[in-house]
Symmetry: C2
């Protein structure tokens, strides 16, 4: 099934050469039925039911219903995941909730994290630290376990590094945190939907992830938050709102948090984005995540093998771990001319992306890529290098934004 991904749109269809899309780790493609079903949402739900849709179409429960569907993909039992807000906002809520879970820590609790994280992770952490008087200790990922001390309230880490694809051991680091009485907050943005995760088994406290990457929810799709059931009664929502209240329509001024994970909801659920995500998740029906992970490993193994054989002679170096157990679902190659090469690749129909300072990043979304796609991508990149076509000055011209 993974070799014939009928449920997903064919990202190869484009005006130019057949497109090989190695950026599903930035933005996943829409499913084949997405356009028709989003039109049906407007007509059959929004227009047909108007305000009645909140009950009649189940909009009210979408954050927890979709949360449960995501829970199935990350090893979380029901009632522990919500889909809402953005990754940044949910990281903020998770960090604040983590601090409230450890009120016994020092007056200035320590948060241990690693360097080189995605900017938003660090920005939001520094914001929380400033507001709540916490101290941040950022060390190399490999040194985190040693940095945890008795004053540590939170260990905050990203499972798969956005640059290198290096993957941390969730179970081991969580255990190290718990041994010192700290809670963990994991960022799963570059892993959910591409590998098998086991949040319940690994005794994770809090986790947040992105749904527009490997989960294919669409640009800016709602994010997700996991909180282990054992913490639910003690969860404090930094942004308390009516949707997380025990009785929203009693319209009381005093907030009484809803039982369970619902208390982490704040504002009115973003129904349009949630419905698109709901449709996207159909692509994971009947997918065994361990199988999906095996396919992901096969794709990245093949890519590294071909990179060593064909691309190394042209100045590329493998900047991702060679041990598959320590790697996520993308591979980065270093090259001194990475920026221009990525632009030339995109023009040749192989879509990856450039990451500062010198990385060509290739995402291998296992739900819709085949081993043949890997072969074809490397063959085209090799051709660009052999012909020197990438040296056209137009490719070196820096453009703004992405």
């Amino acid at each position: 099934m993974l070799e014939s991904p009928q449920q997903l749109a064919d990202p190869t269809a484009s005006a130019g050469p057949r497109r090989i899309y190695l950026d599903g780790n930035s933005l996943g493609p829409p499913s084949l039925d997405m356009a028709a079903r989003m039109a049906a949402f407007v007509t059959d739900e929004w227009h047909a039911d108007l305000i009645g849709g909140w009950n009649g179409q189940g909009w009210w429960d979408l954050p927890v219903a979709i949360g449960d569907r995501i829970g199935d993909l990350i090893g979380a039992g029901p009632g522990q995941v919500i889909a809402a807000d953005t990754t940044t906002v949910l990281l903020y809520k998770a960090l604040v909730a983590g601090l409230y879970l450890r009120p016994d820590r020092d007056a200035r609790p320590w948060i241990v994290t690693h360097t080189g994280n995605f900017p938003t992770d660090r920005h939001v952490l520094d914001g929380v630290a400033r507001q709540f008087g916490a101290q941040v200790e950022a060390v190399a990922a490999a040194d985190m376990a040693d940095a945890i001390c008795d004053g540590t309230a939170i260990v905050y880490a990203t499972h798969v590094d956005f640059r290198s694809g290096a993957r941390l051991d969730i179970g081991a680091l969580t255990a190290a945190a718990h041994a010192k009485g700290a809670v963990v907050v994991w960022d799963l943005s570059h892993s959910a939907g591409a590998m098998d995760l086991h949040l319940d088994r690994d005794d994770v406290d809090l986790a947040v992830g992105c749904s527009y990457k490997f989960l294919n929810g669409g640009p800016g799709a709602p994010a997700f938050l996991y909180a282990a059931e054992r913490h639910h009664d003690d969860l404090v929502n930094a942004v308390p709102g009516w949707i997380g209240d025990a009785q929203p329509f009693a319209m009381l001024e005093e907030h009484r948090p809803a039982p369970g994970i619902r208390r982490m909801l704040s504002g009115t659920p973003p129904v349009i984005g949630l419905r698109a995500l709901d449709i996207a998740l159909d692509g994971f029906d009947d997918v065994d995540m361990a199988d999906l992970r095996r396919h992901s490993v096969a794709l990245t193994e093949r890519f590294i093998e071909l990179a060593d054989r064909d691309l190394a002679p042209h100045g590329f170096t493998v900047a991702s771990p060679r041990d598959a157990d320590r790697r996520g679902s993308h591979v980065s190659l270093g090259h001194r001319d990475a920026y221009a090469i990525v632009q030339a690749m995109i023009a040749a129909g192989v879509v990856g992306d450039f990451r500062e300072p010198n990385l060509c990043r290739f995402g291998f979304a296992p739900l819709h890529l085949t081993l043949n796609d890997v072969d074809e991508a490397v063959a085209r990149l090799l051709e660009l290098m052999e012909t020197g076509a990438w040296q056209d000055p137009k490719f070196a011209e820096r453009r703004s934004v992405t």
Copy 2:
């Protein structure tokens, strides 16, 4: 034009009797072209451009581009409004930013607000007060100006009351706050898109509003935040994220807030919801907001006139201000059997809603309602009362949620 609203979906089309939709203040209807254009978004933007859509389709700039469109409707010059997040999250950011704008206030700054506000306004305020050590003084709306003292950091008020439709004077209360050195945070959820607002003229500091009510952005559409340009350099975002950074793709760990209103953005923009809102706002092209407000007043005046004449004999009382200058775009009628009557009305095709403890609430979205709709709604309600049809026990049975 306001009498023939071609641009909007016909909310009257339904399986039962012709539907008269008096709940556009809870959820506005989709425009006639919404389904086709959302399908086109999936096909021509998301699928066609994939990751390239961030630049190629302008997704990156949607929060500020749509913010400017909303700015046109609320009397705000360009570059002062963003569309993002939810109303609750933006209220949180506005309140925290307000506190940072007044660091000279007492160690425990005062926030003056009014009682009877929508629950989320009060929940989020209490959350901010707890986290930042602020004190909340909640008084009757009419007493707010007198409650402002030299220690007041923020005056926080909702322009149009969600129950009664009572409307506060933005200019006067803002001036009273400024006279004591406080900043104002206005909630415009029940006014944006239904009346003429003048945030720049009235010297407002910060404001937040909802776009799924009169702005017709769809269920859970992104909210909007206004911050006056004079404050931009001093704005602190409680939830700092990469989208609000000066150089997001430099991928630096240290956050440097973007210039202007962009610094109030946190996570990746919710593009699907933003595009729907963008489409919805086309319905306001060429609409003069003063004209729209005049039509809104005409609708509510007619309704009150008919309620006095036809409904008062059946136990209804007008619970909204009779002075149009002190009223928003909805009218509430008190009745001891309000709950059952609203359910019977909905069954008869007149969609309003019940609000605790005894209110029948009727929203008059001026963009798509006519005076004839008002007449027809009252005629049907009168018939329900005269025939006693509303007394069917099924209508008194309380259901959950909305």
